[in-house]
Amino acid sequence: MGSKFSSTREIYQELAKGNITAVEAIHALKVMQSSPANVAVDRLESVPSDNAKEELAKLIGLKNVKNLVREIEAFAKIQRVRQQLGLKSESLVLHMIFKGNPGTGKTTVARIFGQLFKELEVLNKGHVVEVERADLVGEYIGHTAQRTREQVKKAVGGILFIDEAYSLARGGEKDFGKEAIDTLVKAMEDHKDEIILILAGYRREMEQFLRINPGLSSRFPIILDFPDYSLSELIQIAELMLSQREYSLTSSAQNCLFSLLKNLGDNYDENRGNARLVRNIIERAIRQQAVRLVASGPLNREKLQVITEGDIKAATEETSAQMFNRWQAERR
């Protein structure tokens, strides 16, 4: 009886149509309520608001990030106890640098950190302000400091996340990016306990950026490397994404996805280990499945969940064409 209906809506409709009695409907509703699928959905929905750690634990790989979180958590706890017992407690400098290729989880982790640090009472608001060069650098002399300070002000109590931070150092001596960096450094000292600054960017560029600005790296005690995902991690990510959305792959679709990711990794260096690419493929496959199902006959619970080899192929034809275009454009 448990799997007979896919939603409570369906039960109400069946009752209204006269296909089931009220007693049967109530039974079905009760079953629906206690079925694990619903429980899982409830849990998913409640996570972001109340447990960032669980959210983090759900991310595949990223072992160094998880270790760091454990350290910070322990430190924050101990500091709190020290404070209670009247011992000196140190405030923790948590400015960070995230290095890694696109799609390796930098932004995702930053967003979770905001919530997490709020839960650990390291930050009082825990919001994440995501900015890039254009938000910080101004158009005329003196404008930059003003704009940067504005962003810093917005981020007080939370995280200021600067994506592609190395671009602040590009453009040479006269570039306003330098002014932005100086303002940031000042702000880091002024709001030491109220703000966490995260600079993120590609590995090579970030390393160069820090070399050029030696004062910076000493101010960022935490440097996190986001390695490319391995092939098996990418598969795990795909499976997690699908199961969270209540879809599943047929075994031939699994094989198809595997060889596809392997090929991409071999051929396009930059996108190797890119989780965003996987997400795009999965989301496109889900849309392809919808297109296929709309055209097909009657639907059932199983059909709605299964993603076939055809869906994956249709989804990736588009992707690889797009990727080829981009690759060519970059070569030019």
């Binding site: 109400y12 209204a16 006269g18 089931i20 109530i26 009760k30 309520q33």
Partner: protein, 202 residues
């Protein structure tokens, strides 16, 4: 505003309780918000006497939609308003009329949205028929389901009729876990306790 839903089999006195309880709380006329199973809403204003003759009667399934009244109760130092919602009766079997079936589906759906669920039983009928007939499968299942959804309690209605005392005994024996209030929608007997309890749970 919290919803307080009245459920039960047909002809146990759900609508009678709605109107009578409104009168007990000091209203002379009610503004009924009627929500039909196809989703349309309209309001009608009636004096309680007038509504009583129009909406209450011996024929089952006079109420084929959700109809509600906004009431106020003193809670603590202030007053709190809540929506008392009357629903179409739930019965076992497949009813011949599609309108009634849709109304039953609507009732079950409303159960999930309600904060408080008042389940009414006909104590007189249960007293007359005995345990096996009176407290049917539907009442047991409904009770079990509704208890998971929110605050839940029973009203043993029609206590003014002969045989209701015996019915009440049967009911309390069948639903040992649930708080049961003997009432009569006709004479307003037992309303004081119900009022106090509702004020506590909304």
């Amino acid at each position: 505003m919290h919803k307080c839903l009245i459920v039960g089999k047909p002809n146990v006195g759900k609508t009678a309780f709605l109107l009578s309880f409104s009168r007990y709380l000091g209203l002379a006329q009610v503004e009924l918000r009627v929500r039909t199973s196809d989703g349309s809403i309209h309001a009608k204003r009636r004096s309680i006497d007038c509504a009583y003759t129009e909406l209450v009667g011996p024929v089952p399934h006079i109420t084929q939609e959700l109809q509600s009244v906004v009431l106020e109760l003193p809670v603590g130092k202030g007053r709190r308003s809540f929506e008392l919602v009357d629903s179409s009766g739930i019965m076992d079997g497949i009813h011949a009329s599609p309108v009634v079936r849709a109304a039953m589906a609507q009732t079950l759906e409303a159960v999930t949205a309600a904060k408080v669920i008042i389940h009414i039983l006909d104590a007189a009928a249960i007293g007359l028929l005995g345990l096996s007939e009176g407290v049917g499968v539907i009442d047991r299942d409904l009770a079990e389901y509704a208890q998971q959804q929110g605050e839940y309690f029973l009203l043993a209605n029609k206590m003014d009729l002969a045989g209701a005392q015996r019915g009440l005994q049967i009911i309390t024996k069948a639903f040992t876990q649930v708080q049961t209030f003997p009432v009569s929608a006709l004479t307003m007997e037992g309303f004081k306790e119900v009022k106090r309890h509702v004020a506590r749970v909304i």
